[in-house]
């Protein structure tokens, strides 16, 4: 009985094991969200089938819609890949929004400072600057968590708010477009150097270099997490800070690294949002969402749905990007605002993190306890639940 209890406890302990979606939970969560969405459509007097059909057609039905979806997917993928890194290290990065904003600001500032540089120099430079801006905004909460034991959920949320204020200040002041002199200034930059425009990949569409870049980053992060010693260390720290520390790993530095890298990825998303935009400037409406389109949060959705695996996150970002694009078409077809998609994304998150418990509970009932404890979650062999979680999150 004691043994049974101990094993049972381990199953419910939370490393990032608690955040992993299994092949079972994923379709169930998606289905549940779709059903609730259908009920909401019905309640609003719209035909769910017509609505969903328009959504899928609009998102994936033609070459144009596919490229539009890919463009929407890029920020989600970059943020999501960063989330994979952070969550694998068991650091809950809620600061994507702020990191995107800082990345956008840093790259914009560089493009304004040295507009004359040729594209092949300027584009890598703005990408680096954006990654650095985001990395700084991740490193701060990382260091606060590692060295001052500050809850990273709170510090990243607060830094989101600070980032928006920095953005509003810079875009209304130092970085503002002064060419409209005499009028009240719009809080936006002037059109940034055309040398920094991200090259378009397919003529006649908006699909730009950012899409290739994001996929390359995802593959690189996958290789980093599973093929390098540093990546191993990061995942080990995520599974158990206690055990990693006992094994001589520098736990604190690893936590800082995880949040810094996550911030850098989100920062890259910020660069893409500025230099891949149609207006080629950075604009603020006073809120984070106005610039990011909530990619900092939706990237979390994509990463969770991709099982915290960068390669699967490529697929899931494409799906969620499609939801964003298709939402517009659904709005036209059944007159239901695209805000429905935001609500559905929220439901997906809730279902993904809730459903795993239901599954584990069912498994506990069906199988002898020792067998359940030894089995690994299907998506990722390294994700064994039988390793005890970190003391900060585990049960006492």
């Amino acid at each position: 009985m004691t043994m049974g209890n101990a094993t049972r406890e381990r199953i419910f302990r939370r490393g990032w094991g608690g955040l992993l979606v299994s092949w079972f939970a994923l379709p169930m969560a998606a289905l549940a969200a779709l059903l609730v969405g259908a009920a909401m459509l019905l309640a609003l007097g719209a035909n769910p089938l017509t609505g969903y059909h328009a959504l899928v057609q609009g998102a994936f039905g033609s070459m144009n819609s596919l490229t539009a979806t890919a463009i929407k997917a890029v920020p989600l993928l970059l943020v999501g890949v960063g989330i994979c890194i952070a969550f694998r290290a068991n650091v809950l990065n809620i600061g994507g929004e702020g990191q995107i904003v800082m990345g956008g600001l840093a790259s914009t500032a560089v493009a304004l400072a040295v507009p004359k540089l040729p594209g092949p120099v300027l584009i890598p430079l703005v990408l680096l600057a954006g990654a650095a801006g985001g990395a700084l905004w991740g490193a701060i909460p990382g260091a606060l968590k590692a060295y001052f034991n500050v809850n990273e959920i709170l510090s990243t949320i607060m830094l989101n708010i600070v980032a928006v204020q920095v953005m509003n200040y810079l875009l209304a002041g130092p970085l503002v477009d002064r060419s409209f002199s005499g009028f009240s200034l719009i809080p936006q930059t002037k059109r940034l150097s055309p040398h920094a425009d991200l090259p378009v990949l397919i003529n006649g569409t908006q699909l730009h270099l950012g899409a290739v870049l994001a996929v390359l980053v995802a593959v690189a992060v996958y290789a980093f997490l599973w093929k390098t010693g540093l990546g191993f260390r990061l995942r080990a720290v995520g599974l158990s800070r206690e055990a990693s520390s006992y094994a001589g790993m520098p736990v604190k530095r690893t936590i800082v690294l995880a949040l810094t890298l996550a911030g850098a990825m989100a920062g890259l998303a910020g660069v893409i949002l500025v230099f891949g935009s149609a207006s080629h400037r950075m604009v603020t409406d006073g809120t984070a969402t106005g610039f990011t389109g909530s990619a900092g949060f939706n990237g979390i959705v994509a990463a969770l749905f991709g099982g915290l695996n960068p390669l699967w996150t490529i697929v899931s970002s494409f799906i969620f990007g499609g939801l964003l694009v298709g939402g517009d078409f659904m709005q036209i077809a059944v007159q239901v605002p695209t805000a429905l998609i935001v609500a559905l994304n929220g439901l997906v998150v809730v279902f993904v993190v809730s459903i795993e418990y239901v599954r584990r509970r069912a498994r506990l009932r069906a199988e002898p306890v020792w067998e359940a404890a030894d089995r690994h979650p299907p998506l990722e062999p390294a994700a064994t639940n039988s390793v005890s979680a970190d003391p900060g999150r585990g049960q006492e």
Partner: protein, 310 residues
């Protein structure tokens, strides 16, 4: 003359600071109760948005502000029940499920607003309630005792909740469940029931906070809160899980917002400087997080679902 003007501006600024602090205070007092019992509810902003829309919509159609407030609270209570099911019964990772609830509230409130209202129409605001005697004190009366009822309710809740937490059996149970649920459980305290009650109470207050925001502004729009709910969560840490500390943090936000507004309207300092000043509370909160993390200990079981026999 100029001296008179200064005093008038000062009283008006303090009064509006207190008013602006009210939605923060209501939401973060509610969050304090949940966190004391070990539940981190990150969905506050979404719940506030839904409460705000519910209150706005009700006020728009019935012109009954008290019914509107009630609807805001009820929506909060329902969302609290859902949050409790997710975090207590289904034992989801609270840092993430809260983001889900936030996105749901953000999308849902916007969806309903666009579908049911469309163009924002202002609603009437709450009448000012002048407290007899103290309300007539020059200066001080205008600062503290001529506000709407929701302001009084929010600030009265501070001592009330402090009393509940520190002087009642229910409060002791809340703290026990937040510190050591296994021990509380072994003494016969129903952990799940306590956590359900605090989360529902807290979300009800978040709904009320949203309603207060919408009614004070007299309007609803997409993302009306602009992250106020997230600030409310941070204010609980700012106030080191104590109602009085939470009140201090809320007042800081309210006062700075009111001061910056006054500066902007009067044009005393350049726009850019007031933008910088608006940054102060958030930066201060980050600093406060560091100080609180080193001096105070969060409830030991915060954000950890309880599993009997674990």
């Amino acid at each position: 003359m100029s001296r008179f003007l200064t005093i008038t501006i000062l009283t008006a600024t303090v009064a509006s600071g207190i008013r602006l602090a009210t939605p923060f205070l209501l939401a973060s007092l509610g969050e304090t109760m949940g966190q004391r019992s070990g539940v981190l509810n990150l969905g506050v902003d979404g719940i506030m948005l839904l409460g705000a829309f519910g209150a706005y919509y009700t006020a728009l159609h019935t012109h009954d502000l008290w019914l509107a407030v009630l609807v805001g609270i009820l929506i909060g209570v329902v969302m609290g029940l859902i949050t409790a099911v997710i975090s207590v019964t289904l034992k989801a990772e609270q840092g993430i499920s809260g983001i889900g609830v936030y996105l749901f509230g953000l999308g849902m409130s916007d969806l309903l607003f666009q579908k049911l209202v469309g163009t924002p129409v202002p609603i009437s605001s709450l009448p000012t309630l002048k407290i007899p005697l103290v309300g007539t004190i020059p200066g001080l009366g205008k600062m503290f005792f001529q506000a709407n009822l929701l302001v009084y309710v929010a600030f009265l809740l501070v001592p009330v909740l402090a009393f509940v937490l520190n002087r009642t059996t229910y409060g002791t149970n809340i703290k026990a469940v937040g510190e050591n649920p296994a021990a509380a459980d072994s003494l016969g305290v129903n952990v799940a029931r306590i956590r359900y009650s605090t989360v529902i109470l807290g979300s009800g207050l978040a709904g009320l906070g949203g309603a207060a925001l919408a009614i004070q502004l007299g309007i609803f729009q997409s993302n009306l809160t602009q992250g106020a709910g997230f600030i409310a969560v941070a204010l609980v840490y700012f106030g080191a899980w104590r109602p009085l500390g939470v009140m201090g943090g809320s007042l800081l936000y309210g006062m700075v917002a009111a001061t910056v507004l006054t500066w902007k309207t009067l044009g005393i300092i350049p726009q850019s400087a007031s933008d910088l000043a608006a940054m102060a509370p958030a930066v201060l909160t980050v600093v406060a997080l560091v100080v609180v993390a080193s001096r105070f200990r969060q409830p030991a079981a915060l954000a950890k679902p309880y599993q009997r026999g674990g």
